[in-house]
């Protein structure tokens, strides 16, 4: 495993058995998460991003099977474990909740409506023996409520989920996730169901917590604005594969894959007034019969013959940036990203220049 890495996913291939056939949801993905960093996995429905996090936590349904690959997790300086090779018992006792925690999208259904907020936070601590007594757990729970920005923790700790607003519930969910001081926090669309002002608060909170505790974060979302706000590095997923990966600034200011171009061009920006948005024609492919070559080629205006013959490997753009598109092959014609996107990036960078003045 790499020196500074906390989690290493290597050649993960996973599929589900359906009555219609075998659904190849994840097709050979690899990525690394360094300690203390935030990796955002961006993708739309069917990209495989949520399944990836479930694979890490061992929460895959019975009809799912890992065909290949490993997920290496660093336990301490000397030990690492392959999360795909250990049994459910080990995962439950040693990993889930204590080392890796996950927060989901819907705060309404993430919390048990019949348990007080405090009890749910304490439950995790007691279960994983992070505290020695109930009173200690209670004290820590109050501290956590304070950490996540909930007012009057001594009152709130005794309240039930239905007595809290949506934003507060999501904060409680985060508190529960942090209860055992995990090394890795997986956030699966944590702000999608929230209003924009609450979303902003929750994102600030997550970044704040990372500063305070040094927790590493995998952030799953389809909102490119949110990604720009939280991510250090970004991985773009399409049809079960990672199509582009790099630092946030590289992905946003120098994207290389036509899908990334499509995504960035399809969102309107507040800063450039009146320009168009481009839509990507068509829909994501059926992964029961995955396409032979580049899965995005069918929807790309830059498609080449080879896209339909062979899958592109990851081409290196820089030491931190790579993209899986034949357009980066030396024999490929030079293409430009859509004009709209180019103009927008230039606008951002010129503004940045202004700010630095």
């Amino acid at each position: 495993m790499e020196k500074n890495a906390l989690l290493e996913v290597k050649n993960l291939t996973l599929s589900f058995k359906l009555s219609a056939g075998i659904n190849h949801v994840i097709r050979d993905i690899s990525f690394t998460l360094a300690q203390g960093e935030t990796l955002a996995i961006v993708g739309e429905s069917g990209s495989g991003k949520s399944v990836t996090t479930k694979a890490i936590m061992g929460l895959i349904d019975d009809n799912g099977a890992v065909e290949e690959g490993s997920i290496l997790f660093k336990l301490n300086e000397t030990e690492e474990v392959d999360l795909l090779k250990v049994d459910k018992d080990y995962l439950q006792k040693n990993i889930r909740g204590s080392r890796i925690a996950i927060i989901f999208q819907d705060p309404m259904t993430s919390l048990d409506p019949t348990m007080t907020v405090g009890k749910q936070i304490m439950e995790s601590m007691l279960e994983h023996h992070k505290v020695t007594s109930k009173s200690e757990a209670f004290k820590k729970a109050k501290e956590l409520l304070d950490l996540v920005g909930i007012d009057h923790p001594d009152k709130r700790i005794k309240q039930y989920p239905h007595q809290l607003s949506g934003g507060m519930r999501q904060r409680v969910v985060i508190a529960i996730a942090l209860a055992c001081e995990p090394d890795l926090l997986i956030a699966d669309e944590p702000t999608t169901a929230l209003d924009v002002t609450i979303q902003s608060q929750i994102l600030e909170l997550i970044k704040d917590i990372q500063k305070k505790t040094g927790v590493s974060i995998i952030f799953i979302t389809h909102d490119l604005g949110v990604v720009a706000n939280v991510a250090d590095r970004v991985a773009v997923m399409y049809a079960g594969k990672i199509v582009e990966e790099g630092l946030a600034s590289e992905i946003y200011y120098n994207p290389q894959h036509p899908y990334t171009w499509g995504l960035l061009s399809s969102i309107p920006s507040l800063s450039d007034k009146g320009s168009e948005i481009l839509s990507i024609p068509g829909t994501p492919p059926n992964l029961i019969n995955p396409p032979v070559g580049d899965a995005f080629a069918y929807r790309s205006a830059y498609a080449m013959k080879i896209d339909f013959e062979e899958q592109p490997p990851m081409f290196k753009v820089s030491s931190t940036h790579s993209a899986a598109t034949w357009l980066l092959h030396p024999l490929a014609p030079k293409v430009e990203m859509p004009a709209i996107l180019k103009e927008r990036i230039q606008l951002y960078q010129s503004k940045r220049g202004q700010q630095h003045d």
């Binding site: 492919p285 059926n286 830059y302 498609a303 080449m304 080879i306 024999l331 014609p333």
Partner: protein, 332 residues
């Protein structure tokens, strides 16, 4: 690996609208049928129901005996089936004696034996099945009709209408079923019509409750709102938009109600409120046969077996239907 320049020529895509169909092109019921067909218990239930109902139709005609013909010389004859008697079962023996030989009936066969009045039990059991099933079926159908209508109206219109209708239901369901039935049967004299009437009088309530709760769930769905904005009347919405979407639940409830009705009718017969001879339902047969159960067990065993299998099969099938109709979101 080396590549050729030609491989990197651009391709103009003819049909960028790759309109991928996400799921199979079958309607809801076809899918449900497929799910049902893979449920072993449900299939067994269906097979047995078919066999029993089939026998109910043709059973009495197979034997030469007539179901309500009283032949006093043939009373209490034990079961005797040709061919099987050679194996020591169904050989007309009772308490060690070959009754048929004793009475000199060499060519006489009563497959399920004869009852206390010499009537052929085989024919009577299948006639009884016919009647039991008919009574239950008619009662349930009426219940369903009333229950669905009541639930649809109460649920869809809500407000005061719902309030009044539900209070009414609560009052009716507060009255003990049995008391109502006994009164009805005593007043109207036991007969086919009165029994059906008694069975249906309270059965519709549970159906109406289920329908109402389903309607409440669907009422706020956006396609119902869309139907309203497009100008559909409440009647059209209830019939065309809501009803098809609760059909699954209704069918399942109906299937479960039938064995309940059959059993209830049998119970009534057992307590003396059932059909009067010569009409006989399974319940009547069991009730009369029960009285001589220890001496002539054949009179009670066969109707009991048929009743049990019928009820079990209906329950298995209804279970299977319920699982088959469980709407699982497809495609996503």
């Amino acid at each position: 690996m080396s590549y050729r320049k030609e491989q990197f020529e651009s391709v103009t895509l003819q049909n960028t609208e790759q309109q991928e169909m996400l799921a199979s092109n079958t309607g809801f019921f076809k899918d449900a049928f497929t799910r049902f067909a893979t449920n072993k218990g449900a299939l067994i239930g269906l097979i047995f129901i078919t066999i029993i109902l089939g026998l109910a139709l043709i059973g009495p005609s197979i034997t030469p005996h007539i179901y309500n013909e009283v032949i006093t010389t043939n009373i209490n004859l034990p079961p005797r089936i040709p061919f099987l008697e050679n194996f020591g079962i169904f050989n007309g023996f009772w308490e060690g004696i070959d009754v048929y030989a004793k009475k000199g009936f060499d060519d006489l066969y009563y497959w399920f034996g004869a009852d206390g009045l010499g009537r052929d039990l085989w024919s009577r059991v299948w006639m009884g099945t016919r009647i039991s099933f008919l009574v239950a079926f008619v009662a349930v159908m009426i219940d369903v009709a009333i229950g669905i209508t009541y639930g649809l109206v109460s649920g869809y219109f809500g407000g005061k209408v719902d309030l009044v209708m539900q209070r009414l239901v609560e009052v009716i369901s507060g009255i003990p079923n049995l008391v109502v039935v006994i009164l009805l049967v005593l007043v109207l004299k036991p007969g086919l019509v009165s029994i059906i009437f008694a069975l249906m009088i309270t059965g519709w309530i549970s159906m109406s409750r289920v329908v109402r709760s389903q309607v409440l769930k669907l009422k706020e769905m956006e396609y119902i709102l869309a139907a309203r904005t497009l100008g559909a009347s409440s009647f059209v919405i209830i019939l065309k938009e809501i009803l098809p979407n609760i059909m699954g639940q209704i069918i399942v409830m109906t299937m479960f109600s039938i064995p309940n009705a059959i059993f209830y009718e049998s119970f009534l017969a057992f307590v003396g409120l059932g059909l009067q001879p010569p009409l006989a339902s399974l319940g009547v047969l069991i009730s009369t046969g029960y009285q001589s159960m220890l001496i002539y067990p054949h009179m009670v065993i066969y109707p009991v077996i048929v009743l049990s299998i019928l009820m079990l099969s209906f329950n298995l099938m209804a279970d299977g239907l319920r699982d088959a109709f469980d709407p699982k979101m497809k495609g996503f």
